[in-house]
Symmetry: C2
Subunit: 532 residues, 2 copies
Amino acid sequence: MMPVHNTQLTPLLFLERSADVFPGKEAICYPRASYTYREMADAATQMARALEASGIAPGDRVAALLPNLPEMLVAHFGVPLRHGVLVSINTRLSSPEVEYILNHSGARMLIVDTELASLIAPIRDNLETVEEIVTVDDTGTPSPIESTSYADFMARGNTDPLPWTVDDEDRTISINYTSGTTGRPKGVMYTHRGAYVNALGEVIHSRHSPESVYLWTLPMFHCNGWCTTWGVTAIGGRHVALRAIDSDDVWKLILAERISHLNAAPTVLTGLANSPEAQKIEWPFTATTAGAPPSPTVISQMSDLGIHLVHMYGLTETYGPHTVCEWQPTWNEESGEMQHRLRARQGVAMLIADPIRVVDDEMNDVPRDGETMGEVVMRGNNVMKGYYADPEATESAFRGGWFHSGDLAVWHADGYIELRDRSKDIIISGGENISTIEVEQAIVSHPAVLEGAVVAVPHEKWGERPKGFVILKPGASVEPEEIIEHVKSQLARFKAPDAIDIVDELPKTSTGKIQKFVLRDKEWAGHEKRIN
Amino acid sequence: MMPVHNTQLTPLLFLERSADVFPGKEAICYPRASYTYREMADAATQMARALEASGIAPGDRVAALLPNLPEMLVAHFGVPLRHGVLVSINTRLSSPEVEYILNHSGARMLIVDTELASLIAPIRDNLETVEEIVTVDDTGTPSPIESTSYADFMARGNTDPLPWTVDDEDRTISINYTSGTTGRPKGVMYTHRGAYVNALGEVIHSRHSPESVYLWTLPMFHCNGWCTTWGVTAIGGRHVALRAIDSDDVWKLILAERISHLNAAPTVLTGLANSPEAQKIEWPFTATTAGAPPSPTVISQMSDLGIHLVHMYGLTETYGPHTVCEWQPTWNEESGEMQHRLRARQGVAMLIADPIRVVDDEMNDVPRDGETMGEVVMRGNNVMKGYYADPEATESAFRGGWFHSGDLAVWHADGYIELRDRSKDIIISGGENISTIEVEQAIVSHPAVLEGAVVAVPHEKWGERPKGFVILKPGASVEPEEIIEHVKSQLARFKAPDAIDIVDELPKTSTGKIQKFVLRDKEWAGHEKRIN
């Protein structure tokens, strides 16, 4: 018999409740197929039963290579309801990368969009464990590979209720592979308990309510949409699904659906702010941003658009966001510019997380002086269970009893952290550390600049020196020297780049992070090592 | 070493975080002593250390007999930080009742207000386990008993940090004794995990934010203030402490402190609405009500005052509220009167609770027809661990794997429950059930009526018949017959009381529940049994 007072924590309970409480309310809004909460729960049940009928056992991995479609949201409940493990794959990976993830996770089934199935065609014969491929036809594209249609797959199941429970809240609910800018991607394991607790944290910090209308600008394959797949379902909000992100289209949806919330990386917000469709929003609207530090410039733009910005920071290993830049009452008295700077800090641990630390190489706290850099380390219920089938990497990441983020930050006197760099991005020039983030923020504060990135380039005398790559705003024109002078007016002169390239685009990950390693690799071609 | 990904859930983490994040922010506002969050955390640490220095070991019970003072809030963290068990005692109990609770819980220490210590003086010699009494002097009243002053007690400790952790989240954090209108009070055990999860639920459903200014109209001894002691601390809101509830004083505080939230039983809200100080509130204000069903009348009054009402329902055994009357989007189209009726339903399980059920004697779900009465049963993380030192009562309450509330409700087609009565309050008249709540709501919808209660009285022919007790609004005048006719115009005629007494006051518990058993006992005096 189930214990009366100790129900295992799982996001499955969230959909059970919303289907009970808001059965007729629209849960997922999408042109091809909308779902009420009752229909969404029925679809998840039918998927769980179809998985069982297809031979998927508890603990088996089921991979999804899907845009932000209703079927992807359903899979976030249907696969766990079968007690399977959802492996959401980044839709912008190459075929060999997808192959690696499918084989490493040992996925027995793949659910894939028919357009994205072109990624699978060349590697189908290399997949060691995938027994069946299910295709979702969202765009009328025929499947290029032998597969079962989503409808035929679902027809194996039915909607007879299953218990929305798990036997052990520490059971793995999903594996999310890191983007793997260096080395092989690693499979980050989330638990039912962690997903439950982190989802509640997202609800609280992004201030969701049953009236939330949430636009899916953040890919669901990224940390399960920072657990918002589960969080917005918990509160009974309305999901607005979205196949692709185009700033102008997003604006049309914001206005047409009266969106109240979205999550997005800062570059997506920059795109929104600079869209010709941009306009001041007349109702309460919250944008939660993470994935890269937002510049004071984009923070100011959000403010001008009437958007309440929640700035968070985390990694795949922390279920997405782990810290939040909590607003301090005393900040109300600061100037607008200072407020934007303060809001650009990564902040403090979420309400549901253990306190964060910034440590030196010996795991001692660095001084809270806003200057000394150290590594951000985390612990708590929203830290991963470990890397799938990789005990060595897990042990290394958890050394000293804390998860090591690889991110370098300073710790301010008030306990707020401010990221300075990824360990691998920091520039060491003549023995001095230069934070690429700091230089980038100075660059984008120039009025002609839309976006910028800074990387280390080799230098005979100094070892490394910063170099900038800049996209200008449409119609703007400026010489690199003027931008360099602008940076020198804001930072110690040695931090200013020696050179800036004006470019048309920057290499980016699917979640909008600039891939600095691509820029750096080009600059270091011909050198034997990547650090001087 | 602590696990990296699995921190035991405890409300202690909430104060740790708020002291880190909002150290200088006012945590507790009170004329005699205000605390910042840093000071509140330091006080809790000092209390935990003082408890240790006083010989209190982990697992020991520490009782508190205190109004809603800052020290009571501090004890909600200081006692658990010592891994002790907080026994909060209702301040309106009689000396023998307090004696029973202190002896039954085996409390080793009692922290008591010097005014309330008069309750202890006559029973001091009967206390079997209380080794030391600590007195808090809030009003300048000298302690009538031998005791240690709060200052001397606290001086045994210091503020050297202790870890804000527990070894096992299933550890008991508090014991709350039921009001025990029949039989001996029972000690309801809460766990650290349950308190953590329920507190987050309160934050989400009452929509707390770090800007919350929470007025302590609800006694903290009642279900630990429905876990709001922990919840408002979690979000970093501001607690406004309050020694006694007087409607006019409450209005002064609402305006002076710009209160945003309070919790209160419906009778307290009735008092607020009928205070000469009542006025429309011009900022977002949420009143969360539970403890008794609010009538559509008081719901309408709250709406007129600009107060957003959150209606919840629960019991001591469910950490306070367990259900919430979630607003349905379709209700926006209903008439105002119908909206008030819908909002008077007890609703659905909270986001963090398991689904609620209404069952017959064989534990089968009753039909969702809005007519068939059954017993409300609950399960989940916000159901008590059990009754302290009372395995038989625990087993009986948990029969069939569900907690039996003893409350009778109907289940509506939309899954919302609506209370009809406590099992012991229901009137059985000529074989027909009459819900006293239903009759009371009809009575208070009469414009001259302030409050009303209905109980069963013996009747030769029908076995039982309803009788009403009514308080009129100031200056109002009406004959009982007119109220009876009013009830007949709204309900089946057999449900209308045969008699109504106009009275000056009604017997109430400290939390504002009308003590129907007092009224009933008087009417049944001389009869051999209490059911006919």
